[in-house]
Amino acid sequence: MSRLETIISELSSISNNPRKAMEDYKKETGKGSVGVMPYYAPEEIIHAAGFLPVGIWGGQKSISKARAYLPPFACSIMQSVMEMQLEGVYDDLEAVLFPVPCDTLKCLSQKWKGTSPVIVFTHPQNRKLEAANKFLAEEYRLVREKLQTILNVKITDEALNQSIETYNENRKAMREFTDLAANYPQIIDPKKRHAIIKARFFMEKSKHTAMVKELNSELKSLPVEAFTGKKVVLTGIMAEPNEVLDILKDNGFAVVADDLAQESRLFRNDVPSGTDPLYRLAKWWQEFDGCSLATDAKKSRGPMMMDMVKGSKADAVVVCMMKFCDPEEFDYPIYYRQFEEAGIKSLFIEIDLETTSFEQTKTRVQSFSEML
């Protein structure tokens, strides 16, 4: 196995087995893990405490126990997170950080069924005002206080600023990776691309950065080969389960860029420079754009995606619509119209973590491939 293959295989294995990653971290450092719910929580505060931030993104799962607590019209990702809470999957976490940028998360933040303490905070939505930064920095100050108490550690400004640098370094490496991956679709297929990115959620970030940097330089040393398939940009919350990505691959699609909440939206902006780390983290949210969960009366998401399509020379956009995610559903008619006006083709597929039958997705992707 080449070094490149080894790195890809290691990262894929981590992304498929968060529990082992948590156990390994405990063995190495003696410290536990803190869960991070979607979307856009300041993981850096957990990192600065020396604990492992672990992303909670549900999983492919049939829903039974959660039915008693959530009606069927709750989004697929939260159905699966609720199911896993009830199964005790998250009970080894020291705490769970819980942002509430949508109505579903507001409710879910009040009904955690696991045993870990939950730390809730609210992102401001009138984001371009300076007052929003102040508000969010204050929310983060309380998050830090609560974490300090629960984890029994002091989180200094200095440690936090260092963690921000560590995360920015990772973001930079990730941006380089997604750019490179677009040139090597024969090596980085959609599933591998996703796994390499997802491993971020279960690794101490500097370790992940080191591996991704190595991967990047391995990739760069290889010749770029002509790609005969079609290039697409993914948009939405996430593009799971893996079957969806396999269908894309089997139909000759390469993912050349993404606008997914689980992927590039997390690292397309760095945390800005400054001295007060909590203010810096708050400012990240102000500068962030193009996500259904970050209010934007100018709706820059469509134009941003169109730039992405242009920049990555993509043939089309694949809309990965999280089932019952109303923020994403509200964005769709607007950017769909903008795509139509600009002559950008798009394919709508539904993301349902519960499903085990992918025939419909297969058919849609196949016919879309023929159409392009």
Partner: protein, 422 residues
Amino acid sequence: MTDTTNMSAKELLGFYQEELYEEARRAKKEGKLVCWSASVAPSEFCVAMDVAMIYPETHAAGIGARKGALDVLEVADEKGYNLDTCSYARVNLGYMELLKQEALTGKTPEKLEKSPAARIPLPDFVITCNNICNTLLKWYENLAVELNIPCIIIDVPFNHTMPIPQYAKDYIAEQFKEAITQLEEICGRKFDYDKFLKVQEQTQRSVAQWNRIASLSGHKPSPLNGFDLFNYMALIVCARSKDYAEITFKKFADELEENLNKGIFAFKGNEQKRVTWEGIAVWPHLGHTFKGLKNLGDIMTGSAYPGLWNLSYTPGDMSSMAESYTRIYINTCLDNKVKVLSDVISGGKCDGVIYHQNRSCKLMSFLNVETADMLQKENHLPYVSFDGDQTDPRNFSPAQFDTRIQALDEMMKQNKEGVSNE
């Protein structure tokens, strides 16, 4: 001007509702500004600047109640709005689309022509506030971009911890200042702070009369049926910053008090059991839900929903105003939500609770299981839930509703007879 002195509360309600729509249409004709507003967004700023207001949620509810929702829902559907999203939003975005088509082509689309709701003009700008849901942010983003108009946002962050911290009130008060700056720009003139204070005082007088009505359901038997509040709600939404609301609510409260003194009660015959209704009304099936309860001898004397507009604050104090707009029970943690509902149930001397699992409203549905459980532990009252929707008539099954309320009625009867439900 129409003489309103001898009008009954019901007549005043109809008169002022129509008057508000007429004012907006007139404003548009005269080239004055029209604003579309979220139902619990602060109305004080725009009213102080003489902007004509339209409230799409109330308008959508009206379309639903007049059985006109399906036509406009279809338009939203064609635009790519998923059936899973809020039906108020879809009705309004569909309706907006028809108005837009009319403005662009000069021809009135057939669906707009035959819509049973009041005709409303397109807005020059919109104002939204997320104290009752974040959907109102997404919906208004879309209105603003589709019509290429300014959007004033008042963001009231979810209160995960009570009491409300000062830094949250400061953030909201800062947005009030920003809203004023935006309004000055939109209107092209300085903000009228003197009028603003008067409008705040007016709002307080309207709210006081509104609360006076709501408190009357505490009498047993009750002179007020909670379903009446669903109807009168139109004015606390659309006219709380004008005297229209105060005049109408005062009249209604006076009438109810007079009835109470005369021994005339809301339930003709004898009210047997009293229920709390948690959630928004099922507008397209309002009659069915009302009659269903009535036929069982049940009256609704508790609802937290109209209490959303209990916006009491100190005029002149922006921090106090900020608090009143953010403390709305569905914008607070579960413990506080339960506390508010508990007061509603005991205030209405209720024997049971009905929870509306509203397909359109995730925020008012996803905590119902926990809320019901906590409340029952506290008050031992029976409860049921049913599946419905505020304006999409397809998401409500009359048969299921009937079965559920019959079960509730049965449990309430047993409770009254001293048989335990546990």
